[in-house]
């Protein structure tokens, strides 16, 4: 109990209490998430698993502030996300969350550097500072020699590294990766997972969404979802 108190005071980033997400499809109501309560702490390395339809994408969208829950409470660093306007959500996404997607989601016509700079533009950071920060982020993912390449001139693994650099550049509170190895071959996927490991060791908080056991096993904590409920939340003992 004392342990939990301490964590609340300093280290809790995300606090989710009894959230539900209900979509209306025609006349039918779909309960994507029924009732989920969850805390995520600083420097957590968390994998959210579950078969398709289990609600993991919806949960990820809510955690990533791309979507808001229908019911329940979501506190991000003690700020109530469920009450926020679209603009506030955009601000949180910009400053606090770094996304890594399965399909990389880079701007096809922009160079690696421009892609990494994108969140900084919306943060209103000046060009010279932006360039410096983006260069550093690309260096951190080992791509300092691919700064001016466009996505179609890069391999899949390199593209995902650019995406990771973009996620890191604002020094967010959490990195949210949705099937980050889904479009990569095994070897490249492994490289990306090793990169996440390093980031975690450097103090970052990482949330992985995946349906692959091998990927989830990199995480320190695994949450399994089924039918919009948490089936299991445990420390990963395999490591």
């Amino acid at each position: 109990m004392i342990n939990t108190e301490e964590k609340n005071n300093g280290n809790t980033i995300i606090e989710i209490e009894h959230i539900a997400k209900i979509y209306q499809m025609g006349t039918e109501f779909v309960h994507a998430i029924r009732d989920i309560t969850l805390k995520i702490y600083k420097n957590d390395y968390l994998a959210i698993m579950g078969p398709s339809g289990s609600g993991k994408s919806t949960l990820m969208n809510i955690i990533g502030c791309l979507d808001t829950p229908t019911k329940g409470k979501y506190l991000f660093k003690d700020m109530d996300v469920s009450e926020m306007t679209d603009n506030d959500l955009a601000s949180i996404r910009n400053k606090e969350i770094g996304f890594v997607f399965q399909t990389f989601n880079l701007l096809a016509r922009s160079s690696s550097l421009k892609n990494v700079e994108l969140p900084l533009i919306y943060a209103g950071i000046s060009k010279s500072v932006r360039d410096e920060m983006a260069m550093k982020a690309l260096e951190n993912v080992g791509l300092s020699d691919r700064v001016n390449h466009k996505p179609n001139e890069l391999s899949g693994g390199q593209r995902q590294r650019v995406a990771v650099a973009r996620a890191l550049v604002t020094e967010p509170s959490i990195i949210l990766a949705d099937e980050p190895t889904g479009n990569l071959d095994t070897k490249t996927g492994l490289e990306i997972m090793n990169l996440f490991n390093e980031l975690w060791k450097a103090g970052n908080t990482i949330i992985l969404v995946t349906h692959e056991e091998e990927v989830a096993n990199f995480a320190k904590r695994i949450i399994k979802l089924r039918d919009g409920l948490i089936e299991n939340d445990s420390i990963n003992h395999q490591q």
Binding site: G64, L66, D67, N87, A90, F99, N105, Y122, G124
Partner: protein
């Protein structure tokens, strides 16, 4: 709104247009046409203004012309025709008695006679018998030779000052001075040529030839026409005073009883303003109709292409929103893109019109001399107007697509496969 967002949005807009050059060009075509109308209309109107000003300068803004005829009186034409002629004696008496005017001179005019030089003839000009003081009015300045002197005036010498066009038609080779021309069988010595003054509104002035009024009377007879009086007030400020004195004096000379209408007109440059106003209005009404129509087409064109652009870039919008772009940032991105698209249309129109206007203004007057009032250079105010109008039109056209883009749900947008 942060400055970096605005510059970023401008860059995005140019990038988007660079990728779709032809499509952007076609989309802005309506604006190109609309802005062209605005520019050409402004150009013609400013030409008209210039022509009006030139006309004023020939007539003289401080000049009054007492005449049987009224310059602006088209409607009362029948009534005016029944006025008694102003005789030479009345005109002379007036000129002697007027006090406040700087100068007053009688002008007698005849049309329909020929002028001969050697074996060549010219017709369609008018002969004006006037006094030597005519050289002191704006219409009397010569570019070759001189006007006639007081002495020549007093004795009624057979000397003539040719109008510009008459000179061009008859004596354009060699020195015209010292040559003799024949009018009604009488020889006249050419002593000068009047400066070219004609404008579209007032082109007959270049066909006028001036001679001493006594010489004029010996050729065309002393009576049988109405003589007009040209009065130079001296300044625009004294115009009212001179006009009032002239009216009273002329009424007295013509024996008009109190309460009766004037049987003469006092003409001045103001009469031309109404003529120009009619012209200006007709240019406007035709121009505005076409302009509004083409802007409507322009707005639809840009709006359509912006909708396509939003649909094509849904994924991009999703990515931008995911990394923190706010609604108004996305909104602005598309508004700016539409505005720039439209502005580029305006630039194309301005360049196109500049070339067109230059060619027209330099070539057309060679075939249609009346169009000489058109300037080969577009007034720079038109560039400003075109810029503002096009940006406004672009923003208007981009409004609905931009709102649609801004309101896209990021989750939905990211799911798109483009």
């Amino acid at each position: 709104m942060k400055f970096s967002e605005i510059t970023e949005n401008i860059k995005i807009a140019f990038e988007a247009m660079r990728v779709n050059k032809l499509r952007s060009l076609l989309a802005s075509l309506g604006v190109v046409i609309g802005i062209s109308f605005v520019i050409l209309m402004g150009w013609v109107l400013s030409g008209l203004d210039q022509a009006l000003e030139d006309t004023f300068n020939i007539i003289g803004t401080d000049m009054l012309y007492i005449d049987k005829w009224d310059w602006a009186g088209g409607r009362n034409w029948k009534k005016i025709r029944q006025r008694k002629d102003i005789t030479y004696d009345q005109a002379t008496e007036f000129c002697e008695k007027i006090k406040n005017a700087e100068l007053a001179i009688p002008n007698a005019r005849e049309f329909g006679y020929k002028i001969k030089y050697k074996n060549e003839e010219f017709q369609g000009m008018s002969f004006i018998g006037t006094r030597w003081e005519h050289s002191m009015t704006p219409a009397g300045s010569t570019y070759i030779g001189r006007h006639f002197t007081q002495f020549e005036d007093d004795i009624g010498s057979n000397v003539i000052v040719l109008g510009y066009k008459v000179h061009q038609a008859l004596l354009n080779e060699g020195d015209p001075l010292g040559q003799y021309v024949k009018i009604e069988g009488r020889k006249f010595l050419v002593i000068g040529v009047i400066k070219k003054q004609g404008t579209m509104l007032f082109d007959f002035v270049d066909n006028q030839c001036f001679m001493p009024i006594k010489a004029f009377q010996s050729v065309f007879g002393r009576s049988g026409r109405s003589v007009s009086v040209a009065i130079k007030a001296g300044s625009i400020n004294s115009l009212d005073e001179v006009r009032a004195e002239s009216e009273g004096l002329m009424r007295q000379i013509r024996n008009i009883k109190p309460g009766e209408e004037n049987d003469f007109s006092i003409n001045e440059t103001k009469a031309f303003e109404s003529t120009v106003e009619v012209l200006r209005l007709s240019v406007w009404s035709v121009g505005i109709g076409m302009t509004v129509l083409s802007f409507l087409v322009g707005i639809i064109g840009i709006m359509n292409i912006m909708f396509v652009s939003v649909t094509e870039r849904t994924k991009e919008i999703g990515i931008r929103k995911a990394v923190g772009a706010k609604k108004r940032t996305i909104w602005m991105q598309f508004i700016i893109e539409a505005a720039i698209l439209s502005f580029i249309g305006a630039v194309i129109a301005f360049i196109g019109c500049s070339v067109f206007v230059y060619l027209i203004a330099t070539l057309l007057p060679k075939f249609v001399p009346e169009t000489a009032f058109l300037s080969p250079i577009l007034p720079y105010e038109l560039l400003l107007i075109a810029s503002f109008v096009s940006i406004f039109v672009g923003m208007l056209a981009g409004l609905v697509p931009a709102v649609r883009a801004a309101n896209l749900d990021p989750v939905e947008a990211l799911r798109r496969e483009n």
